[in-house]
């Protein structure tokens, strides 16, 4: 079981801010593929990988990072703080 969080327009497209998911995906990329195959709203949220960022347990990570041991995955657009 893994917690998945969505922020900004990713959250708006998916329709929920967070959810708990049962997955055996070995990497972020595999998880994205799994999610995108679920429903159109996920497909739309994950359509443009280049405009997505991911954090694993609250640290920025790459899409090829392994998910082993990870408890929280977050997807969001490039940050616009400051």
């Amino acid at each position: 079981m893994i917690d998945i969080l969505y922020f900004a327009w990713v959250r708006e497209r998916v329709g929920v801010p967070r959810e708990r998911v049962e997955t055996a995906a070995p990497t972020v990329a595999a998880l994205v593929k799994e999610l995108a195959a679920r429903e159109d709203r996920y497909a739309l949220a994950f359509a443009d990988r280049a405009s997505l960022r991911v954090a694993l347990d609250q640290r920025l990570a790459d899409f090829d990072a392994p998910l082993a041991g990870v408890r929280e995955v977050a997807f969001f657009p490039p940050m616009t703080g400051g």
């Binding site: 969001f76 657009p77 400051g82």
Partner: protein
């Protein structure tokens, strides 16, 4: 070193004064304050979303890195989330160092990192609808100088 992530407004004058009053040995204090631009009246408000937990951790790491690189006497970051009206202060950074170059560089470094590496997302709320603020290539490019 203090990091505050909050929805409440802050008083930049009081924060700047308090910060500068407690930096023994420092000769230079720099502050940066980001304000909600009204874009010529087109923008009514700004909604800032953040990632609780990660935000504080990420900013604290940036502050620690800046303090180490520039031997800062002190540093402060305040960043708001939630709904802000045009003209309101979004965030502020303050740095204190022995000389001005370090204080300026550290403040610019923190701003560059906050812009592109702190998990905040801004949505502009205008008369004609709402829109997520897109990340600027210039902001990403600015990181390369550090």
């Amino acid at each position: 070193m203090r990091v505050a992530v909050q929805s409440a407004p802050f008083d930049l004058g009081a924060e700047a004064a308090r910060f500068a009053a407690a930096v023994p040995g420092a000769g230079a204090v720099v502050t940066f304050t980001g304000l909600v631009r009204d874009n010529g009246g087109a923008l009514a408000a700004m909604e800032i979303e953040h990632y609780p937990g990660m935000t504080e951790t990420a900013i604290s790491a940036m502050v620690d890195e800046a303090a180490r690189r520039w031997a800062l006497v002190d540093a402060l970051v305040i960043h708001r989330f939630g709904r802000l009206a045009a003209g309101e202060a979004i965030m502020m950074v303050a740095t204190a160092a022995t000389h001005r170059a370090a204080a300026f560089d550290a403040a610019e470094f923190l701003m560059d990192y906050l812009k592109s590496r702190a998990p905040f997302w801004k949505k502009e709320i205008g008369a004609s609808g709402t829109e997520w603020v897109a990340a600027r290539d210039a902001d990403e490019a600015a990181l390369k100088r550090w």
